[in-house]
């Protein structure tokens, strides 16, 4: 099964990966081969088979909803690339008037 270059670019966008042109070319070929291989599953009729998403036959063991002490707080400031006054710092997400004017 082939895969188009535009499809690879679309998946890269969904994956939040800024791929280089070389990477797109490489993945186009490799993904096509892997998808070809995966196509073997079409041989099987699974219309009556329930999907198995998890191998844990017992089901999940949820904790009782009982309030208790948390462990020591994680030092978010120490871990975060940029952190100030209790906030993670990120690029601005709201466009300012100035940037709107620039675009216009």
């Amino acid at each position: 099964m082939g895969i188009e270059r535009e499809q690879v670019q679309h998946i890269a966008r969904l994956s939040r990966l800024a791929l280089s042109d070389d990477e797109i070319t490489l993945f186009k070929g490799q993904l096509a081969r892997i998808l070809d291989y995966i196509g073997i599953l079409e041989e099987l009729d699974t219309s009556a088979t329930m999907p198995l998403y998890h191998p844990n036959a017992e089901g999940l063991s949820l904790r009782q909803d009982i309030p208790r002490e948390n462990g020591p707080a994680v030092d978010l400031k120490g871990l975060a690339p940029e952190f100030d006054e209790g906030h993670f710092l990120v690029p601005s997400i709201l466009e300012t008037n100035a940037s709107e004017q620039e675009r216009a």
């Binding site: 994956s15 939040r16 800024a18 791929l19 995966i38 191998p55 871990l79 997400i93």
Partner: protein, 492 residues
Amino acid sequence: MPNLPFLTLAELRSGYSRKEFQPSEVIEAHLKRIEALNPELNAYLEVFGDGARDRARALDKKLAQGGPLGPLFGVPLAVKDVLCVEGTKTTCGSKMLEPFIAPYDASCIRRLRDQGAVFLGKTNMDEFAMGSSTENSAFGPTRNPFGLERVPGGSSGGSAAAVAAHLCQAALGSDTGGSIRQPAAFCGIVGLKPTYGRVSRYGLVAFASSLDQIGPMTKTSEDAAILFWAIAGHDPKDMTSSTRPVPPLEALFGQDPRRFRLGLPKEYFVEGMDQEVRDALLATLAKLEGLGIQVEEVSLPHTPYATAVYYIIATSEASSNLARYDGVKYGFSAKHADSMLELYERTRAAGFGLEVKRRIMLGTYALSAGYYEAYFKKAAQVRRLILEDFTRAFEKVDAIVSPTTPTPPFLLGEKIEDPLTMYLSDIYTNALNLAGLPGMSLPIARTGDGLPVGMQIIAPAFMEERLFCLGRLIEELTNPPIQGVPFDQPIA
């Protein structure tokens, strides 16, 4: 004084209880070996020299005070760099986590610490545990102690090489599709993937959450049982961990494997199985039959589909799990991004290596609109058929045996350019992760070139004791036990 790094866990314990040596001597002997041999092997990414020494001195005092010693007391362990050890780097072999310092201990680390284990350091791995050769590490490949031009397997290649070269007494690895068993086979050691849910995954950096399991990598089956016993059991912090009680340690050796019926899957004997691997397995089975053990053919008819199912499910779960690496909360972050989208895309482009990107892409594709039913759901349906194959086979036999890998360890660079060929080196191991079953690899022979060959034993869920009992018997048959060769010389 015995050569301390060459002892098994049982020998270490008996030496401590007779006060023949103390923890600081054992730790020092290991650190000396690591210093001498690690530059060549690149098994450890980080060594906790001073931390391990401080901890050992505290244990020396405890030993001097007397009292009962648990089986993990003063045991020097290596930890795959996918597990959080509080206050130390946990890189997952990735640039993405290079700056990350674990804020807490993984539950298995906490248990081992409480039982007196000493952590020597963190071992190399394929980035985010994605790979079968440890060549996908952002920090250079690990080399196989049996042949430095060969891969140690992966993704737990650093742990396997460290155990084989006696740079630790035992190690922890993680196994999503064979990442403990395949490197164990390639490095001539024992590696166990426990039943899904038997060991808490809390503090294990997630790759594919319905497949990942932590397990021991050791020099003998007995050591694997001890380390397994120490980390197994329910953990309220992992809702997928089982509430079943863990058997006492003695019970893990309580069965007579001479009464076992063993199954040999006919579908595993396909093109691509190396002749020496095949011969070694059949010779070992002949020895077992000589003891009266019955070996019969079983059928696992959906075997040819397992690798396809595995790569859809593992990559789909990975694409979701790895969405957390956004450059905002922790880890690597691209500089000077003008927008959130640019921050995400540039952080992930620069932080992840090629194999990780490839798998995120494949998983995203399998989950995307229009393809979910054809790929992810279809794979989950075939996953059930694979589980049912095993269930039927275990109605007839107590355990299933197979080679761990189709070939002996391959050369560095041999498969790295061809992802599909690399994926096919897990064909005997990944079906167990899909079915959640326990499996153990142990060394049974060497090839004409002196390379290790591993055998895999598979048991029904929560029946790990069958693996240990049979493993110990096989070790007696392949006497003397097969361990590290080129690196089995003491350091002067």
